[in-house]
Amino acid sequence: MSELIQAGSVSGKISSPEGSRSGDHGIRKDAERAKIGMWLFLMTELLLFAGLFLVYSVYRYLHNVDFHRAGLETHTLLGTLNTMVLLTSSLTMALSIAALRTGKKRLSVSFLASTILLGFVFLVVKYFEWSSEILGGIYPGSPVLLNRSNGEILFFGLYYTMTGLHGLHVIAGLAVLCFMLVLILRDKITMDDYVKLENAGLYWHLVDIVWIFLFPLFYLIN
């Protein structure tokens, strides 16, 4: 019997607690399972952006010089600032999980709150960056942009589409993190059961990683 359970490879480990299931139908604590689900979800998110990266690479190949010229006009300084902000927020996110794991609830909450704060800083910087570009007449379909070369039109089209989609992910991530903050404060996420916070952290790192690729493609291309 025990060999059979072993033979069940991965399932061997999981099948033992089957009997101890609560009455609630099918919702049983299994951190490993939640993590597998999360990683699969992150993969779909990566593939969502992969479609855009594919489009970017095709057009950059076709309009190499134009992309270079257009890349000179993005705000490298603001982009760098935002990269630092987002990287720091990933650090505080990881620290928040580490703090909770060792039972330091208050420390964890303050690290999580700083992550959320940094996320908002990112959005504010982004707001000023987009505003200055739009005020400069560069936005999809603008007369200024339509007088430029095709490659530049595409570059800025992709710039708004990709950073815009990324921005939506930052907003979604912030909503998730706020939710996690409430759950920690209400002791729904504790040092014994913190997989929700870990998964939220994974999502936040994904948002960070996507930015790490967007940054050179739009700001450092010159």
Binding site: L4, S11, R33, I36, G37, T44, L62, P140, L146
Partner: protein, 556 residues
């Protein structure tokens, strides 16, 4: 089943099966709330089943109307614009609301946990959420019809027309986007379930082949659907902001849209066909009373089809203006898919060889499937070869081929699977003689409807036209009459199944002599599927009486 002597444990099961199982309301919720708020995978499967078949009936009505238009040339029933709307709606409803969720969302939801000996899927609440997303997506698509006229782009939403048309493509596309989300969640859920929730002893190579097929399908759902999502988002972005990504006047490339679209939509064909193939393996093994021939090869061929199927999207675009090299490579890869598909067919036939075949309705559906799928596959070769494709592309030949594969292949097995598993799901048996008659009528109607299309296409009748030249009249009319026969057969089949669900005689736990885990639990299964979690110690299709007669003697 009454005249078969029952073993003691079967008697016990039979007593339990007199109860309603999961169909009985246990919780505090009553009426419809006990269904639409339930996280029981079986109830969610039924929710999906009811929703899917409602849309199927709508899709069938639209299809019949399109055929009716072809009774005579000249567009007497609908004008060109109305016909455009008809084929768009027929395509969107049938593809995105019926065949893509199809078997995984309905029967997969119901039987995947039972077949691996689990009490539920890994994320039951996510499972319910995916049904709600499905319903939301469907409602959004329906809303798009009432805004600025019916969408008229075809289900492929090809650029540039989908950006230019005044109809409400934005809304329709957003609806499909939501449906994609639903599909992704189902895929994630199934992958995690298969990895983490198998019963003790159920190793990877002891899993039923339906589970293997769902596993391969779930990977495609998770890997391919996000690409569709971003493609659809780009249509919306183009329509709202005219960014120019697919607009040649701004340097964009409309062909790139086709690439992105088919990177998803070709693998989606395998989302439609892999689960039916898994069910074919189940049904053939059960009704041949033999273990499946070449189990590992059949299991692995599902993964191989999923993998190669991801790399062949370009064969939808041979006339779109790709390079010759790309055409050649995509054509070659397309032919490679035939290898794992062939492995499956040969192993199915080898399973039946020297089997003790019991031609019950599900088995007859499989036979119909093999005939129709072969025609679909062979016409696929015509389309996969570069030279012949130039001749028949965008004609009725493509329409005929597609319906032979998806309807004759996928949906026939969906019906066959309903006949196979309905007694398990509801504990009652339909009238088998009527089921056979219905299959006969459907089979005749199907071929009358779609075979003339292959001929029409070969003679040059283009698809998506609301009228035709007089020379096509005879074949068009045969096809129209075929659609009536087909509908009559479908009505007979559905009525028979519904009557069986409510009034059929008790089916007992194992009416077919199946060997996978779902047949070891009462019909309908109890809320937690098994009285105790089973321990698996043999292959899924282990038929002791067929394999080792002497061992069976000893057991007695």
């Amino acid at each position: 089943m009454a005249d078969v002597a029952l073993k003691p444990d079967e008697v016990r099961l039979r007593n339990v099966s007199d109860e309603l199982g999961y169909l009985a309301n246990e919780g505090k919720r009553k009426g419809i709330a006990a269904w639409i708020l339930s996280t029981d995978h079986k109830r969610i499967g039924i929710l999906y089943l009811v929703s899917l078949f409602s849309f199927f009936i709508v899709g069938v009505i639209l299809g019949v109307l399109m055929r009716l238009e072809m009774l005579a040339p000249g567009g007497k029933l609908f004008n060109a614009q109305e016909y455009n709307a008809l084929f768009t709606l027929h395509g969107v409803i049938m593809i995105f609301l019926f065949v893509i969720p199809g078997i995984p969302a309905t029967l997969g939801n119901f039987f995947l946990p039972i077949q691996i000996g689990a009490k539920d899927v890994a994320f039951p609440r996510l499972n319910l959420l995916s049904w709600y997303l499905y319903v939301t997506g469907a409602i959004v698509i329906l809303l798009s019809l009432f805004q600025h006229g019916l969408p008229d782009t075809g289900w492929t939403f090809y650029i540039p027309y989908s950006v230019r048309t005044g109809t409400d493509v934005t809304m329709a596309v957003f609806g499909v986007f939501i449906l994609g989300f639903s599909s992704i969640l189902t895929g994630m859920n199934f992958l995690t379930t298969i990895h983490r929730m198998r019963a003790p002893g159920m190793t990877w190579f002891k899993m039923p082949l339906f589970v293997w097929a769902l596993y391969a399908t779930a990977w495609i759902q998770v890997i391919a659907t996000p690409v569709l999502a971003i493609t659809l988002l780009l249509i919306i972005v183009e329509r709202l902001f005219s960014v120019g990504i697919f607009d040649p006047s701004k340097g964009g490339d409309p062909v790139l849209y086709q690439h992105l679209f088919w990177i998803y939509s070709h693998p989606a064909v395998y989302i439609m066909i892999l689960p039916p193939m898994g069910i074919v393996s189940e049904i053939i093994a059960t009704f041949s009373h033999r273990t499946i021939f070449g189990y590992k090869m059949v299991a692995m061929s599902s993964l191989a089809i999923a993998f190669i199927g991801y790399l062949v999207w370009g064969h939808h675009m041979f006339v779109a203006g790709m390079t010759n090299t790309a055409d050649f490579v995509f054509s070659l890869l397309t032919f490679l898919v035939a290898i794992p598909s062939g492995i499956k067919v040969f192993n199915w036939v080898a399973t039946m060889y020297k089997g003790s075949i019991d031609p019950q309705p599900p088995f007859l559906y499989v036979m119909a499937f093999i005939a129709l799928f072969s025609i679909g596959g062979l016409t696929g070769l015509v389309l996969g070869s570069l030279a012949t494709d130039m001749h028949v592309t965008a004609t009725y030949f493509v329409v005929g081929h597609f319906h032979y594969i998806i309807f004759g292949g996928g949906v026939f097995i969906f019906f066959g699977a309903l006949h196979y598993w309905l007694p398990k799901m509801f504990g009652r048996m339909y009238n088998r003689r009527i089921a056979n008659w219905a299959l006969g009528v459907i089979f005749v109607g199907f071929n009358m409807l779609y075979f003339p299309m292959l001929l029409l296409g070969y003679e040059g009748m283009p698809r998506r036209y609301f009228t035709y030249l007089p020379q096509y009249e005879t074949l068009q009319r045969i096809s129209v009459v075929g659609s009536w026969v087909l509908v009559a057969g479908l009505a007979l089949m559905l009525t028979n199944l519904l009557r069986g669900i409510f009034k059929g005689e008790k089916a007992g736990p194992n009416p077919w002599g199946g060997t996978t885990l779902e047949w070891t639990t009462p019909s309908p299964p109890p809320a937690e599927n098994f009285e105790e979690i089973p321990v698996v110690d043999h292959e899924p299709y282990y038929h002791p009486e067929a394999e080792e007669p002497e061992e069976l003697e000893a057991a007695k």
